[in-house]
Symmetry: D3
Subunit: 164 residues, 6 copies
């Protein structure tokens, strides 16, 4: 842990970090999160899904599209030329609920952690939206970075204790 | 809990629910979520904040702006004329971290649950972004609807057990 | 056919038509279009579709989301509170290709023809995008209004000769 | 024609193709399409145009602006740094109607076919919008890729039989 | 002049003013601004304009489109259903430069001052962009509200001394 | 001053300048502008600011976010990968009002003048929005480029006479 917030200048005003002098490197970030719901809600999603796959398919598309708009949503994020976005969603009867994992990569001057986290968040929100008529008590939880590679700060991986 | 997903038609294909026949009523939704972090990270945010307020102030603005773009992010949400969006962010040394609460209201034909949840999510993502140089292990958690009022489905409130 | 272009004022400069004095009525517009492709391409889409439904499911979502952004894309369109957007996509071995039909409704002061046509166009573009690795010669054709109801200009329906 | 849909992974789920390993090359794509209308409608557009050029001028601007937003509209398109967008619109009394041709270029890792096709589509939609008070029966037709150059898949040109 | 900033709550945190209780009234706002330039630059624009009208025509379209996106740009503005947007641009050899006037109207719960000011600002920026290869020293000046009508605060008109 | 408008082709139609052949260089642009207001309004902003800093903090964020969307607002601007955006806002009792300075940089093929000017414009509009309940007569003035560096056209600096 470093002891400063790089978005704050010496007077405390918010600014975008200058990435002009950074090298272009291959960067990957993987983030995850979950939507916890009643088991009947999960059954509804799964059965709807086995017919046409729409809750999970729609949430996946929403997550991918949101990753591309991260810099419009998060005030101090840089616009980036993402090379790849993948969003995987899996049912977990034990939760019960759905787990979302997003993986984003680019060759560029700054990392893609926020893009992966945004993809996860919007996929989870879409799941909530599509199932909320059945279950308003769903909880979106445990949105976190799993790992990142590339860039000056190097590789980083969440502790096992930060897992799902 | 009702037994159907209103976004899925009889063949399972995703569609927007038709709200044309619904009455315009006053509607309010309140959602909440948290960012859990190391206590030193919270201290950094608070000290930066006491000087210029930028992490919390920026996250609040980001949440308000995101609520207005909910229908662009969530595929099956309707565009809405929101009357009010408020985002409150509070430090909690016990977590340690920050709690975010968003309240959205409108007079219209459909509810604003997704707008409140989107405001909370993007405010949390902004907090993560602004503090991630210090602490990549922060976790966004417990994003949920606290209550809604108005509309045909009436009032709803989260169980005490769903609280923070 | 009336003899003027309502977007042009008396000096020929483009402007938005003033809808302030119009009554709020229930309005519906239905538009259609097709993507013509090689029959092997259609087979690929259908087989991919039978497994996970992704080409057609993704194009449907893209069309719905694009309808909501019509006023951002078409310079003189008004922002509207759409009540419903539905996009249906069907395979036609005789074309060979896919037919797209979009239906949009609202209670408001101006019609939703452009929203329906935009949904069809973007759904067709998405189909092209997802199958272009196999077939760059696909043609998007016959995008047209099928019918509209409501509003001062009343109901309108395409001639049978304008059909597919 | 290759036998796979590169947007579908082995399980059929939609994903963005990874372009991280691709070389940056000069790429150009040219697409075209037409709006067929009554000859009186074309005369109205042309006479409005000879005074102030607004239908054609507005449609050209709309097409250029839409090309820049392709990745927001088409779910699996990559964000790109376009170097050039040109949209040409020409009257054809024989159709009767207007022909639209868009040319897009960049130096980058993936092609710009979708950007050219999106520019054509939105220019055609704008023409429809600006003339629909006079003629709702207009048909947008024959939107297709004319040619592309650059990239690993090399050059491609539509058959003469695919022409207008 | 009233003595408070309605966007600031009692603790000073930014929030959207609640317009839920306001009546829907007819509202109009008119704003203006100018781009001052060298007289040769104005001649270039006018001669280009007399041939095809593109600088002025493009700036007019850009202003109209920007008004529709005001709530995305200005953090605490409400989304609105604008009924009409008009942008007029006129050459003034005495300045020398161009004057821009935007008029926006709606029937709704809050005023459209910001929409009119945003249309003027973006039209002026577009003029600068299109002529900057010839003249980087242009100055955008005197952007102001000329008048507003409707709403609880009633009519307002700029002093003669605030004029151009 | 050069004698042509590079956005106009030989027939006068608007087009995006082709930057494909340009070299990637380090580019910086600095722009400025002011909001003139009554001295009581400035006092309100400053006192609100001393408590929570919200008018100035919100305007700074709005300016930064708008710079990232310049290519969506200005029809012929290229999408760019900005490396840095900074917006500084300072009170001037002598005006009375606020001065806004924006500095934008990137390594790329085209300049960032429009991004800096857009950041200034939207920051000024946000100040107007947040203080307009107290003072509708505020004037946004003197928006101009202060200097640019990098690119084929080299460095440029406003005359001392163009200053504030």
């Amino acid at each position: 842990m470093t002891g400063r917030l790089t978005h704050l200048d010496e007077t405390g005003a918010a600014h975008m970090v200058d990435v002009g002098g950074k090298a272009e490197t291959e960067r990957v970030a993987v983030a995850a999160g979950s939507v916890k719901m009643q088991s009947q809600t999960l059954e509804l999603i799964k059965s709807g899904n086995s017919a046409k796959g729409d809750v999970i398919g729609t949430a996946r598309i929403a997550g991918i599209m949101a990753a591309k708009r991260t810099h419009e949503l998060i005030p101090l994020c840089h616009p980036l030329l993402l090379s790849k976005i993948a969003v995987d969603i899996e049912a977990d009867e034990g939760l019960p609920g759905l787990h979302v994992v997003a993986s984003v990569s680019l060759t560029g001057k700054t990392g893609v952690e926020m893009e992966a986290l945004t993809a996860v968040s919007v996929a989870c929100l879409t799941i909530y939206d599509m199932a909320k008529a059945a279950d308003k008590g769903m909880i979106i939880q445990n949105i976190r970075l799993l790992r990142k590679t590339g860039g000056k700060s190097g590789n980083w991986s969440a502790d096992a204790t930060g897992g799902k």
